[in-house]
């Protein structure tokens, strides 16, 4: 695991314990770089949901996922690379949000949150690996939509 003033690189197994420990390191990195609480929370949440999904649906619990996080003045960007089967999280079905409590399904919220909390989300399959890049806007950023932004870490 390496990190610089505005860049964090690391790898983790997608097991719950390893993901929790990894997220803690990312949160510390974001706090150290002055990222606001909202952007820090949402970046950590996006990472947590994607990594957890790799373990439960990606069938790659024993393979390291590589993560790069970069802090820019207006956003935090991230890239997650894994060698699991092809999977584009942008295409996951939408959960039913307006069902009654009794009928409300228990699952399906993780990837929905990923799509909602990011201002950019891109997927590519390269060299038998999934590459997911995302951006979370920072407080005070004039760009709240992320439209046209390249989310790859700078």
């Amino acid at each position: 695991m390496t990190s610089g003033p505005m860049r964090f690189e690391g790898a983790t197994l997608p097991t719950p314990e390893a993901v929790a420990a990894f997220i803690e390191n990312v949160t510390e990195f974001l706090d150290r770089n002055g990222v606001d609480m909202r952007a820090s929370h949402h970046t950590s949440l996006v990472l947590s949901e994607i990594l957890t999904n790799l373990a439960t649906h990606g069938a790659c619990r024993d393979r390291l996922a590589k993560i790069v996080i970069a802090v820019a003045p207006d956003r935090v960007t991230g890239e997650i690379t894994d060698s699991g089967p092809p999977f584009d999280p942008r295409l996951a079905p939408e959960p039913s949000l307006d069902a009654d409590i009794e009928d409300r399904p228990i699952g399906g919220l993780g990837l929905f949150l990923v799509r909602k909390l990011t201002t950019a989300l891109e997927y590519a399959r390269r060299n038998d690996e999934n590459s997911l890049t995302f951006a979370v806007s920072r407080a005070g950023s004039r760009d709240s939509t992320g439209a046209g932004k390249d989310p790859r870490p700078d």
């Binding site: 719950p16 314990e17 993901v19 929790a20 997220i23 609480m37 909202r38 929370h41 949402h42 950590s44 949440l45 947590s48 949901e49 957890t52 959960p95 949000l97 307006d98 409590i101 009794e102 409300r104 228990i106 699952g107 919220l109 993780g110 929905f112 949150l113 909602k116 909390l117």
Partner: protein, 112 residues
């Protein structure tokens, strides 16, 4: 995650602290769910110390809400941190139960 409960009037007031993620959600749901033993239970969870909630944490909250509603009771949260509140809003959870700004206000609203 740390969980502490006390009874104020006829309301169970639970103070949770830490991260409500995949590692904590099962304990969270079981520990708080074990308080639901009578009809019409009143459950208030103080979220002031909860700084991170994942979809696994949301599932645990939903399980508790379903259990309380099935027993004819009432369920509320208070003092939810802003990023966590945004997660409740986005997922529609904020429409399933009351979210109060502060503990005293919540206890008063629940008739505790």
């Amino acid at each position: 995650m740390e969980i502490h409960d006390e009874r104020i009037g006829d309301t169970f007031v639970i103070t949770a602290k830490g991260r409500l993620d995949g590692g904590a959600s099962a304990t969270f749901a079981e520990r708080i769910g074990s308080l639901i033993t009578s009809e019409k239970p009143k459950l208030l969870i103080d979220f002031a110390g909860v700084d991170f909630v994942t979809s696994a944490g949301l599932r645990a909250v939903l399980l508790l809400v379903k259990k309380v509603k099935a027993a004819g009771g009432s369920f509320a949260l208070c003092a939810v941190q802003e990023p966590v509140r945004e997660v409740f809003d986005i997922t529609g959870f904020a429409g399933m139960f009351s979210i109060h700004a502060a503990r005293a206000e919540a206890i008063a609203a629940m008739g505790g």
